[in-house]
Subunit: 340 residues, 4 copies
């Protein structure tokens, strides 16, 4: 049995960081060796300074780990970044230059053409960009995963795009509160209410989805925050070049499997896309944990009189949409020998 | 001062019935003289058998009114129907034949070409159908208002259609629980959850909106139930024949006023359409009571890369979408001397 | 007609400040002349810097008022303080010394024996402390209202204490999110959840209730935050020296009226205590607006096998519990000629 | 390896039935052989007629099982009853007479002195009543578990009662919606609201707790339904004959272990009582799954100025409070050879 790789987690006290820690707890390849938080928390044991919000228990060994400050040197070759975009923009390049492989959930470098924006089941070939980075930058590197909506949307669209060529898509989201982190949206704003706007989100959805699918796809996104804890739901309408039947589309989803060396990665689900036939599904509470949170659930495929077809899609924003996305990316890097 | 007209309310114990009673409480033209409920409640005072769910106090005089059964003769010339579709289908024609003007919120006869599907500010001329009914059926008549989503959507689209000719629209709704009546959706289904489906709703939205706008409009509707008490929010994208600017569209909304004899009706708002410039609005809790619940609120007008323009719209489903819609219809009938 | 008194509002951008502004909008005696916020907002029109959270529209005239900084001199003789305790501790004494009557909702000076802790219907005589302040401090003065739970609890207990002498009380609260201000508790903490703790709250409840009732009352408080927007509900059990019947207690509540010169104040309800006989009431959504938010609602009075009697009580935390409490206090000061 | 015992589940389509099915899915001793529902569902495969509400996937093998009607003969020696009280009152005695061991979650026979009201960790000796039943009634028998609140409360009080003799307790509950079954309370009643009443609940809490603890304990219960999905929280105050310190009480909880042959049952947690030191806990969302839902979580132990000590307790109403309670009871019966 191979030795496990030590990893560092940046932004470990946030919502995504907490989720990642629970997923790393019994990971077969990685173990958490270092955690990094903001300067004012440096030197404090993780468990003492973290408002634990995930419904599994905080692993005791992790509770005792002392937090490092953002500027301390890290010993771990693999660094997970669960930082906000602003901090990530400054910190991630430094880590890359110091020779770390940074697997980031932050949005800071997702539009950088030299940085892979990776969903392993969809565009594993984008990891080639990492070699290009290394020609310039040494052994370090940066890999990003998409926004939590895109993580589900691009995965659901991928088999349709490959089989039928997408041309247009409208997506209207109903997003969970855990996507806004801690403290996020106040309860006083969401009890008996919803908010039809999330800063920067609609642009990210349009840009990142098109980039991952490598398609000149016209995407119209309209986003909403609703009183759901985990699980982003979205209502999608699509136009395609070809004219598949309803059965063709469902068939494309049901036949979809992780390609090549992605299949069998510890966090990779057997079936990344689950189609449900119950007309009342997908529902975030009931479906977000499909494939231990790594499968998206699609339902209600029906003709759309305006664009062609419409359907509903649900993705666990913290698992497939953030922590699990980064972890799966890191696993693919590990399998390909890309960890320094 | 003219004497007030006595009115009967069918389905008075339901959610829409309760809302209507509160709006009739100090009405300048009408007073509640009779209430009708299901057979098993007949003979019981209203206040004793009703689970009062509206947050204003039940008017004491109404609490004492004894409920009539569905087959008892009614003395009131004007009858409001807040019935479910199945019961309405049987009962409303009988009342019409007995010479009552039935102003109905039920969906049973909305597709009947002889029955007005009326939003006074949008298609007041549809009331002419009432005369046709009377040629056949005596002094009675039936007038309906649209579905609670359509009540807001058709109103918001009307000035755009008249100015710029709509060709296509997609609408994705986030609908409040009070729209499902009592008991409606269980809390166990909506805590930390949403449901991406409401029976029959998408068809109603497509059909009724096109009928009211008298437009061969392709409409794609996707509906969701969310944990909001009152206020349906919808994300709308539209294509138009002409190519207005953003300012043109906002201008059309802001210039919209109730036409002719509709203006000044007791329940008619001065401005049926309110445009809000705050990017985080409309929100159901904050905006549903605009114009005492009779104005819709629109915001976030922006280019839609797929269809042309996108915006968010909020309508109070119980007021503008149901009880207030019926009441305004009745007021227009009264002003035009159409009450028997 | 007397001229209206200009008033200043400190902490006008917060939840309580917003509620107070709506209540001052058409006030017969006062008008908002100045608003004060934190230094960084000084000089900005109120409407531009405030995240308006109250469901009535922000009065346009107020939206245009330019915010003053905390250290600017104020011209208004009457100053409402909706500040947090920490800022209030520094700022309120300065304003008093500058000759203002400060009517405060902050907790900073509620335990000061020279400062009235006033509920006009319960202990109007406590206003005498103001004269004592003035002997020392000139024309200025400070009047406080109790914590939002105590505002309801002490009012509900007062007629029982006077008639039957309370000896013990346990109170378990289910408190609304608007009581925590903006942003308050995150939605991520309250969706499908509750929090059994609010910092400092249990002590305030025990101390302030006993002070207002002037009783050596043993009070045990246990507090919870729940996903309700407005309206604190509490489950109360009491022991009394005398042994009234259930009817005696309900009679004491129903007979309770505002005393002397408190009755008829603009914000004073005719019946500060409403007893409801429906076994499922009081409910915050249905009962919080009783008496335009200034009446508390009590129900379910029943024998308690441990202490004597138990009942449920609901108070609108923002109206009777905060903004309305301060406003009523100011009105009593005005009626008694205590405004400088 | 012993063969598994076939079991029948009555009321399999309800909330408790669904939870029980998931817990029986990989049970080491039992397997689901028969399911019984109401007459109108008889003959239909379980998966076709059940609105699945539990967030784990419905086991496919179970989805295919054909439902039996309430009067069909059952082959399984062990029958779980997840029925409502009214149906249970008629059906359970018949099953007992037909020789089945009925392990019931229904309230119908909990007050029958010949029927064990069992929490294995607390009063395992109550199973002796089963032998008495059999003297009269053959090989069949009936065992009940307590109400979902009592399942947590009596467990939390047991070690205190044994060590310090309880005399009085007040308990105020904040109960989850899944406790009301399907459809239960409407969302329209609980969005931005709570309900301070549940029919019959307060009596059950007082009676059942005293019976299980075999104590002449004065209990005052006040119950509330809140917008939480799973997990009943309660605020408890107690008086005791002896005068333990805070440490003594926490020590009694932390030392508590399942007694004798209860320890090691498949569904029995290692530590049925978990004390949390975080002042903001227990919270239902974060703590309900302690011990896979079979451990209760207690926190905030503090002096109560009225009764002695106060604390907060959380129990998963569907697991420890219902399905898991019945399952653990059945396991104890199995270990003791009491299954026919």
């Amino acid at each position: 049995m191979k030795e496990k790789t030590p990893v560092a987690v940046l932004g470990a006290t946030g919502m995504v960081g907490q989720q990642l820690l629970t997923m790393l707890q019994d990971h077969p390849w990685f173990y958490v060796s270092e955690m990094v938080a903001s300067e004012r928390r440096a030197g404090i044991p993780y468990g003492e300074t973290t408002r634990w919000m995930v419904d599994t228990t905080l692993p005791p060994a992790m509770a005792l780990l002392t937090l490092k400050g953002p500027n301390e040197a890290l010993a771990s070759p693999l660094v997970f970044s669960c930082l906000g975009a602003r901090v990530a923009r400054d910190l991630e390049p430094v880590l890359v230059q110091n020779g770390h492989l940074v697997v980031s959930n932050a949005s800071a470098f997702r539009r950088n053409p030299d940085v892979p924006l990776l969903i392993p089941e969809v565009n594993p070939e984008s990891l080639r960009l990492l070699s290009a980075q290394r020609v310039i930058g040494g052994r370090g590197g940066l890999v990003t995963n998409p926004n939590c909506v895109v993580a589900g949307l691009a995965l659901g669209l991928a088999p349709l795009h490959h089989a039928f060529r997408l041309t247009k898509a409208t997506v209207v989201t109903l997003q969970a509160v855990s996507g806004a982190g801690i403290p996020g949206v106040g309860a006083v704003e969401l009890v008996d209410n919803l908010i039809p706007w999330i800063e920067g989100e609609e642009d990210k959805i349009a840009y990142e989805t098109a980039r991952i699918l490598e398609a000149p796809l016209a995407i119209s996104a309209s986003v909403h925050r609703v009183a759901v804890l985990h699980g982003h739901t979205m209502s999608v309408s699509i136009s395609m070049e070809r004219t598949p039947s309803r059965e063709d589309i469902i068939g494309a989803w049901e036949a979809f499997r992780p390609p090549g060396d992605v299949a069998g990665l510890p966090t990779c689900p057997l079936r990344p896309i689950v189609y449900v036939h119950d007309v009342q599904r997908p529902q975030p509470r009931l479906d977000r944990m499909a494939g231990r949170g790594m499968s998206i659930t699609i339902g209600r495929l029906r003709p759309c009189p305006v664009l062609g077809f419409a359907f509903e899609l649900c993705v666990h924003n913290l698992v497939r949409g953030a922590a699990g996305a980064a972890l799966l990316n890191a696993e693919l890097c590990a399998r390909r020998g890309l960890i320094p």
